[in-house]
């Protein structure tokens, strides 16, 4: 009922945020989100000391409102100079033409060596062969599991492939009884199924902008996913129905949970000290052997509209420095994208981070189309229906393809037009 009020408040916040008076020195406007937005403020003074004449003004955005605000700012021509951008949003803002390509700058900056970055996460910033962001931190998801329950079920190690995973889940279910489960796959999160889908050899969206959920690979992933619920290995619930995921994990309500690095700190803090030995992290199992996971996280981007790109690039270089990344990790728990930083003792000796380090060698970007988030939302809605038994797996994949094709219709028109344009230009030249 209060849509208008919500929108006005957002607009007012934006107007206040973009007020500025003419500075004597170069003032960089930087937008950062969530916890990272708070922490980057602690790192800025050192940057300003090292770079006299550059002042940094950080504006914090909540993650939930960031996407809308960035789009509105783009339309209203009120972009900052630099921002932290979720790397699944990079293709969208690259399509908009909002981002400045960084290939030239990276080539001229030995302090940002491409070889020192995990390739999967680097690649998530490359759209149509051009680089649009420098990875800042990585959010990939993997397995958090109960070591003690798994041991009691007869397994001394976490699963390496789906078949073993399934055997372990069945054994755990037999052990814990009808009121408890083996795995928790919240129905209102698309990420677990998205990751299983990424593990398939076929892409979920084809190059000619069509849904590809009917592929054998995705079908296998969906069957695996739905199978856990059909056979009572996973509860058919959403996160809104679980009051405290850490308590439930501690009680053994479930033993496997697919989530990200931000939970390491939470698990350390919220599980009783005596139980800290009972949980561990493990890389994602794949259909046949170790599997890939999503190349999530945030990147640092420069905006085309900025007149202070050189100064902004200095800040990117500063924030990418290994010692700063180490400190950033200590402050936030975020995982660094640079291989050399992983060799520092804090990370190398952290038993919970080890699995993430291993997983980072195997991360894959989600399909690089601006519509992916909408398609992923449909993935959540359709799989939720299938989990509730309203659709069969066959109907679900057909429905997913239908919705994806509809969502991508405009993209296909643009691709076709571009191809035509390319052909006619080529003809004109010959």
């Amino acid at each position: 009922m209060k849509l208008f009020a919500v929108l006005t408040a957002g607009l007012a916040a934006m107007l206040l945020g973009s007020c500025s008076n003419a500075p004597a020195t170069t003032v960089l406007d930087v937008w950062a989100m969530g916890r990272e937005g708070e922490v980057v403020g602690d790192l800025v003074p050192e940057f300003e000391r090292e770079n006299p004449g550059v002042k940094v003004r950080v504006q914090q955005l909540p993650f939930t409102a960031a996407h809308e605000k960035l789009l509105t700012a783009f339309v209203g021509n009120a972009m900052p100079d630099m921002a932290q951008l979720g790397n699944s949003w990079v293709p969208e803002f690259a399509t908009l033409g909002a981002l400045d390509p960084l290939d030239g700058r990276v080539a001229a900056t030995p302090a940002i060596p491409r070889a020192d970055y995990y390739p999967g996460i680097w690649d998530s910033n490359v759209v149509d062969g051009r680089l649009y962001g420098v990875p800042w931190y990585v959010d990939t998801r993997l397995l958090f599991y109960r070591r003690d329950i798994l041991k009691r079920a007869g397994f001394g190690h976490p699963p390496r492939d789906w078949a073993e995973w399934r055997r372990q889940m069945e054994a755990i279910k037999k052990l814990v009884g009808p009121d408890k489960y083996a795995i928790y796959l919240p129905l209102n999160e698309y990420e677990p199924l998205e990751i299983l889908g990424l593990q398939a050899s076929e892409p979920m969206v084809t190059d000619d902008a069509r849904g590809n959920f009917r592929s054998a690979g995705f079908r296998k992933a969906l069957d695996f996913y739905l199978g856990t619920m059909r056979d009572g290995l996973a509860p058919v619930v959403a996160t809104t129905q679980v009051a405290n995921v850490w308590d439930e994990f501690d009680r053994g309500w479930f033993s496997f949970y697919i989530t990200g690095p931000w939970q390491i700190g939470e698990f350390k803090r919220r599980l009783p000290p005596g139980h800290q030995n009972e949980w561990m992290t493990a890389p994602m199992p794949g259909p046949d052997g170790p599997g890939v996971s999503n190349a999530g996280g945030s990147s640092l981007v420069l905006f085309k509209s900025s007149t202070k790109k050189d100064a902004a690039w200095k800040l990117v270089r500063f924030l990418s420095r290994p010692d700063i990344q180490s400190r950033f990790h200590a402050l936030t728990g975020d995982l660094p994208p640079r291989i050399s930083v992983w060799k520092t003792p804090e990370l190398a000796n952290d038993p919970y981070a080890k699995a993430f380090g291993e997983q980072m060698m195997r991360v894959r970007a989600t399909p690089k189309v601006p519509e992916w988030e909408q398609i992923a939302t449909d993935l959540k809605l359709v799989s939720e229906k299938a989990a509730h038994g309203e659709l069969t797996a066959d109907q679900a994949v057909a429905e997913l393809d239908k919705r994806a094709d509809e969502t991508l219709a405009k993209r296909r028109w643009i691709l076709a037009r571009k191809k035509l344009g390319g052909v006619s230009r080529a003809e004109a030249r010959s």
Partner: protein, 291 residues
């Protein structure tokens, strides 16, 4: 003549403001609804296509639109009578001569109206929790098994209704209370002397006296409830299984989440037409009532 000119001078600022900030955007939105304005058009206006009535046709073919319409109608049908009955009951209690601490209770009942929706939504999510919520605990006390309020697609809308009614009944209560106080005491007294029971007095004295007030209240409540948005936005994000997606929520998602502004504008105009038609019906009904 000069008087007329002066009058125009006085209304001009208001007309300019209305034209600039209301009629112009509405006209622009109407034009937008005949285009496929989206993220690609933001990037390059050359990607904009005039699609005629395609958005409207596509909208009518979108199952989620019908589902959202059904959800909204369900919310209105369930919520409006419940809300008005709650308001009426609370107003009658407060109007009763036996009632003590009237000022206190009036404040308590009105308090939810002025609280921040987002804050109370968080509290309601605790109240409605399946395992640890107070609502299920109370229901368990009278032998009703736990209800998965926000997780079960059948119960999510009733849960939203419960929340919305609790949040809003105080507002109508104040209006009805004012209406009750305009009914002359002599009428009640005369009815009592004629031997009318309490229920008969309510049925034949209070309610007819309140009729115009109830009509206004019902029109306002219906118009308000049709624009359901914030409650599902904070409580359920439209879930589970799209069971709490309202028309406005659907429009918001299309427009501001997926940036399909052409399509979202079409939804806005369809919503406008529906509201317009409903108001016409209500006016017709009210004409019959007042005659």
């Amino acid at each position: 003549m000069s008087q007329e000119r002066a009058a125009w001078g006085f209304v001009a600022p208001a007309l300019v403001a209305l034209g600039l900030f209301f009629f112009l955007p509405v006209a622009a939105a109407l034009v937008l609804s005949f285009t496929d304005f989206d993220i690609y058009a933001v990037a390059d206006i050359g990607n904009l296509r005039f699609v005629g009535l395609d958005n409207y046709i596509h909208l009518l073919e979108t199952p989620l639109f019908w589902k959202a319409l059904g959800n909204t109608a369900w919310f209105v049908i369930l919520g409006v009578p419940l809300s008005i009955m709650m308001s009426l009951a609370a107003a009658l209690l407060l109007d009763n001569k036996l009632a003590r601490f009237k000022g206190f209770f009036r404040t308590v009942y009105f308090a939810p109206v002025v609280t921040t929706l987002v804050a109370v939504a968080v509290i309601w999510r605790y109240l409605l929790h399946t395992k640890y919520g107070l609502v299920n605990w109370a229901l368990g006390g009278i032998g009703i098994g736990p209800i998965d309020w926000l997780g079960d697609p059948h119960w999510s809308m009733p849960a939203i209704v419960l929340f919305a009614v609790w949040k809003n009944f105080g507002y109508n209560m104040i209006i009805i209370l004012a209406g009750l106080q305009t009914i002359p005491e002599e009428l009640h007294e005369a009815a009592r002397i004629d031997g009318a029971s309490a229920f008969q007095r309510l049925r034949h004295v209070t309610l007819p006296g309140l009729a115009p007030v109830l009509l206004v209240v019902s029109i306002l409540t219906m118009a308000g409830y049709f624009q359901l948005f914030a409650e599902p936005y904070v409580m359920t994000q439209g879930g589970p299984v799209e069971s709490t997606v309202s028309i406005l929520y659907f429009m918001y998602e299309q427009g501001f989440r997926w940036w399909n502004l052409g399509f979202a504008s079409a939804i806005a105009f369809v919503l406008f037409l529906i509201m317009f038609a409903l108001t016409l019906v209500q006016l017709k009904v009210s004409e019959r009532w007042t005659q």
